[in-house]
C-alpha cells in the first residue's frame, strides 16, 4: 500500500517512514503544503497522513485538495492541535481518522489497519492463534466451537497484541491503547500485567498459551 506523509518536521516524517516501511508500506514524504499538493497531483495513494500545522498552509487545505484527485484514499489527520473545531472540520472534509500528537507509531498502524479493514473490505478478521480463533470484528475468542468470555479490556489487549503479531509491545503502549491518551497522571501500565494474567488464566483452561510471551523488562509479544 502506498502512503503519503505530509509532515514538515522531517525527523518525525523519517521515523514514520522507517516504521511503515518495515510494515511493508511504500512511503512518499512531503515537507510542505506545496510539496504535498504536488505529490498528490502526481500520484495515487492508499493512505494520506496529513499534519495540520504546516508552515506554508493549513493541512485542511491539502485534505480538501486531495479529495479531488485521490477520492478513494484513506485520510488520517495528525496534529498537535486537539482542537474540537479542527477535529470536526477535519472529519467533515472526509478524514477517516484523527490522531493527536504525541502518538505511538503502533497506534497509527493499528488505526491504519482498522481503516483498511473497513474501507478496503479486508474481511480476514478471523485469526488463528494456536488452537484458538479470534474474530476481531465480532470480538469473539473461541476454542474449537466454544466461546471464551473475556472482558472488554482483556479483548482489546489481546487483539492489539494480535494486530502487531511478532512485535514486543511495551506496557506503556498497551495501556495507552486500552485507556487512551486520557490525561491521567500516573502509570496504568502495571495493571496490564493483571489483565494478561487474567487472559492467560481464562485461556489456559482450554489449551496452552505459550504463544503469548512475556519479554522481561519490556512487555509482551504474540509469537509469529
Amino acid at each position: 500500500m502506498k502512503v503519503l506523509i505530509v509532515e514538515d518536521e522531517k525527523t518525525l516524517a523519517y521515523e514514520m517512514e522507517e516504521f511503515l516501511k518495515k510494515n511493508f508500506y511504500h512511503c512518499d514524504l512531503a515537507h510542505s503544503f506545496d510539496h504535498g499538493v504536488q505529490q498528490l497531483a502526481l500520484n495515487q495513494y492508499d493512505f494520506i497522513l496529513i499534519d495540520l500545522g504546516l508552515p506554508d498552509g493549513d493541512g485542511l487545505g491539502i485534505l480538501k485538495n486531495a479529495k479531488k484527485n485521490n477520492p478513494d484514499a484513506a485520510y488520517i489527520i495528525i496534529t498537535a492541535r486537539t482542537n474540537l473545531k479542527d477535529r470536526i472540520s477535519g472529519l467533515d472534509l472526509g478524514a477517516d481518522d484523527y490522531l493527536a500528537k504525541p502518538f505511538y507509531l503502533l497506534e497509527l498502524h493499528s488505526r491504519m489497519q482498522a481503516i483498511a479493514r473497513r474501507k478496503f473490505n479486508i474481511t480476514e478478521s478471523l485469526i488463528e492463534l494456536g488452537e484458538f480463533g479470534v474474530d476481531i470484528q465480532k470480538r469473539i475468542v473461541s476454542f474449537k466451537d466454544e466461546q471464551i468470555e473475556l472482558s472488554r479490556k482483556e479483548f482489546d489487549l489481546l487483539s492489539y497484541l494480535l494486530l502487531h503479531k511478532g512485535r514486543v509491545l511495551t506496557r506503556i503502549q498497551l495501556s495507552e491503547h486500552i485507556w487512551g491518551t486520557f490525561v491521567n497522571d500516573d502509570y496504568d501500565s502495571n495493571y496490564i500485567d493483571a489483565h494478561i494474567k487474567n487472559i492467560r488464566r481464562k485461556l489456559n483452561a482450554f489449551a496452552a498459551t505459550d504463544w503469548l510471551e512475556t519479554v522481561r523488562g519490556v512487555g509482551y509479544r504474540i509469537k509469529k
Partner: protein, 439 residues
C-alpha cells in the same frame, strides 16, 4: 468607615463647635453692641445739650440754681449739671449706679467737664441699662438664625460631598469590588472632573490592563510551550519505538529503551495536562451537553475497575438515576470525576471505601460528594492542593501534581463550586456544587 460618612461627621462636628463658641460669646457681644449704641446716643445728646448751653446760656438750665438735674418719667434717662473743682478735667462714659427717688438704678453715664463763665461745671447724661429690653430677644433671634443657617449649610455640604465623592464610589464599585478576574470587558473611565479621582481611575485602569496582559501572556505561553513540545515528544517517542523494533537488540538495550519510553511518557503526560488546562482556560470546549451523572459514574468505575480491584476498594453510588447535569462538556466532566475518583483510590487504604453522593440542596443546586477512607490531607496543605505541581502525600510517590489542578480548572469553567474537607487517617471528602438548577 466610608469617606463620605467621615467627611459628614467632621463637618457636623466642626459646625457644632463653632455654634457652641458663638453661643458662649453671644451675651458679651450683644452687651458690647448695646454699649456702643448707648455711647453713641450719649455723645449725640451731649452735643445737643452743649449746643443749647452755647446758644441760650447755662442759666437756661440752672435758672439761677447752682446745679440742675432732670430725668424722664420712667427714669430711663437723666441729665445733670453741677459745679466742679477748677482743676478737674473729665470726659468719660462709665457704668455706675445712681439713687433717684429712693430707687437704685444702673446707668451708663457720660461725664464731661466744661467751663462756663469762668466756672467749672460737670455735665452728666445717664441712660438706664438695667432694663436691657433688647438683649434677650436679640440673643434668641441670633440663635435661631444661626441654627437655621447651620442646618442649611450642612444640607448643602452633604449634597455637595455626595456629588464630589460619587466618582470615587463608582471607581470602587466598577474597578475593585464587582470585578471578576481576569477582567473581561474593556474598562471604561469613570467620568469625573476631580483630577485626583481621574488620576486614580487612570492608574487603576492601567494596572488592570497590565495585570490582564501579564495573565494572558502567561496563559498563551503555557499553551504555546506545551503545544510546541508535542512534536519533539512525538519524535522521541517514535524514534524509541523504531529502536525497540530493531533486529539484534540486546536485552539490556531493550530495557533501557523502555525506561526511556517511560520518561518520555511522563513528559508527555505533564505536557498534555498543561495543554488541557490552558485549553480549558482559553474556553476551547463547548458546554452544551447533558450528562446523567449516574451513567457517568458507572462508566468511570468500569474504566477504573482494575484499580479498585487491586486495592479491594468498594464503591457506593448514592445518586438518583434521573439527575442530570445541563450545559456541560461531557469529556471535561468525565475527566473531573475521573481524577477525583482516581485520587480517592490512589490515596485509599487496602479494603477501603469510596462513597459518591448526589443530592439536590435546599436552594435547588446539585451537589456531588466524593468521599474516601484514605490517608487524608494535612490541614496546612489543604489550601494548596489545587495548585499546579503541588504534591502532598509525598510518601505515595505518585502523580505529577496536575490532577487536581485540572479538576480546579474544569470546575471553574463550569462554575462549579468545589470544597474539600479532610481528616488525617480518616479520609477526604470533595464537595462539588453545580450552580445550575437541577431538573
Amino acid at each position: 468607615m466610608k469617606l463620605s460618612s467621615k467627611l459628614t461627621l467632621f463637618i457636623a462636628g466642626s459646625k457644632l463647635v463653632t455654634v457652641l463658641l458663638f453661643i458662649l460669646v453671644l451675651p458679651y457681644l450683644v452687651k458690647e453692641i448695646a454699649n456702643q449704641h448707648t455711647n453713641f446716643t450719649l455723645r449725640q445728646q451731649q452735643k445737643k445739650v452743649m449746643a443749647i448751653v452755647h446758644k441760650n446760656g447755662l442759666d437756661d438750665y440752672l435758672q439761677g440754681e447752682s446745679s440742675y438735674g432732670s430725668y424722664t418719667l420712667l427714669k430711663e434717662e437723666f441729665i445733670a449739671f453741677s459745679p466742679s473743682a477748677a482743676n478737674v478735667q473729665i470726659d468719660t462714659i462709665k457704668d455706675s449706679q445712681r439713687l433717684i427717688e429712693g430707687d437704685t438704678l444702673n446707668y451708663r453715664i457720660l461725664s464731661a467737664t466744661f467751663k462756663y463763665a469762668d466756672k467749672n461745671y460737670l455735665l452728666e447724661i445717664g441712660k438706664n441699662t438695667s432694663i436691657s429690653q433688647y438683649h434677650k430677644p436679640l440673643q434668641r433671634f441670633a440663635l435661631y438664625g444661626l441654627i437655621t443657617l447651620i442646618a442649611m449649610t450642612m444640607l448643602i455640604d452633604l449634597i455637595f460631598i455626595r456629588i464630589i465623592i460619587q466618582p470615587l464610589s463608582s471607581i470602587i464599585k466598577t474597578k475593585l469590588v464587582n470585578n471578576d478576574f481576569p477582567f473581561r470587558a474593556e474598562q471604561l473611565p469613570v467620568p469625573t472632573s476631580t483630577s485626583d479621582f481621574k488620576y486614580l481611575d487612570d492608574s487603576l485602569r492601567l494596572l488592570m490592563t497590565q495585570i490582564n496582559d501579564a495573565f494572558y501572556k502567561e496563559r498563551e505561553f503555557t499553551s504555546n510551550a506545551s503545544h510546541e513540545l508535542m512534536t519533539p515528544i512525538t519524535i522521541l517517542q517514535n524514534k524509541m519505538e523504531n529502536l525497540l523494533d530493531e533486529e539484534g537488540l540486546s536485552d539490556e538495550s531493550a530495557i533501557a529503551i523502555v525506561e526511556m519510553m517511560k520518561t518520555v511518557d511522563r513528559l508527555k503526560k505533564i505536557t498534555s495536562s498543561l495543554l488541557l488546562i490552558s485549553r480549558i482556560e482559553n474556553e476551547q470546549y463547548i458546554r452544551k451537553e447533558h450528562v446523567i451523572p449516574l451513567q457517568l459514574f458507572e462508566e468511570i468505575i468500569e474504566e477504573i475497575k482494575h484499580r479498585l480491584e487491586d486495592k479491594n476498594i468498594s464503591i457506593k453510588l448514592n445518586i438518583a438515576g434521573d439527575m442530570e447535569f445541563q450545559h456541560v462538556n461531557r469529556d471535561l466532566i468525565y475527566q473531573l470525576f475521573f481524577n477525583l475518583i482516581h485520587n480517592a483510590i490512589k490515596f485509599n487504604r487496602q479494603d477501603g471505601q469510596i462513597t459518591i453522593t448526589g443530592v439536590t440542596t435546599a436552594d435547588g443546586c446539585f451537589q456531588v460528594q466524593v468521599s474516601d477512607t484514605g490517608i487524608g490531607i494535612p490541614k496546612e496543605d489543604l489550601p494548596f492542593i489545587f495548585n499546579r505541581f503541588t504534591k502532598t502525600n509525598l510518601s505515595s510517590q505518585v502523580g505529577y501534581g496536575l490532577g487536581l489542578a485540572i479538576v480546579k480548572s474544569i470546575a471553574a469553567y463550569h462554575a462549579i463550586k468545589i470544597a474539600v474537607e479532610s481528616d488525617i487517617g480518616e479520609g477526604t471528602t470533595f464537595t462539588l456544587i453545580f450552580k445550575f438548577k437541577t431538573k
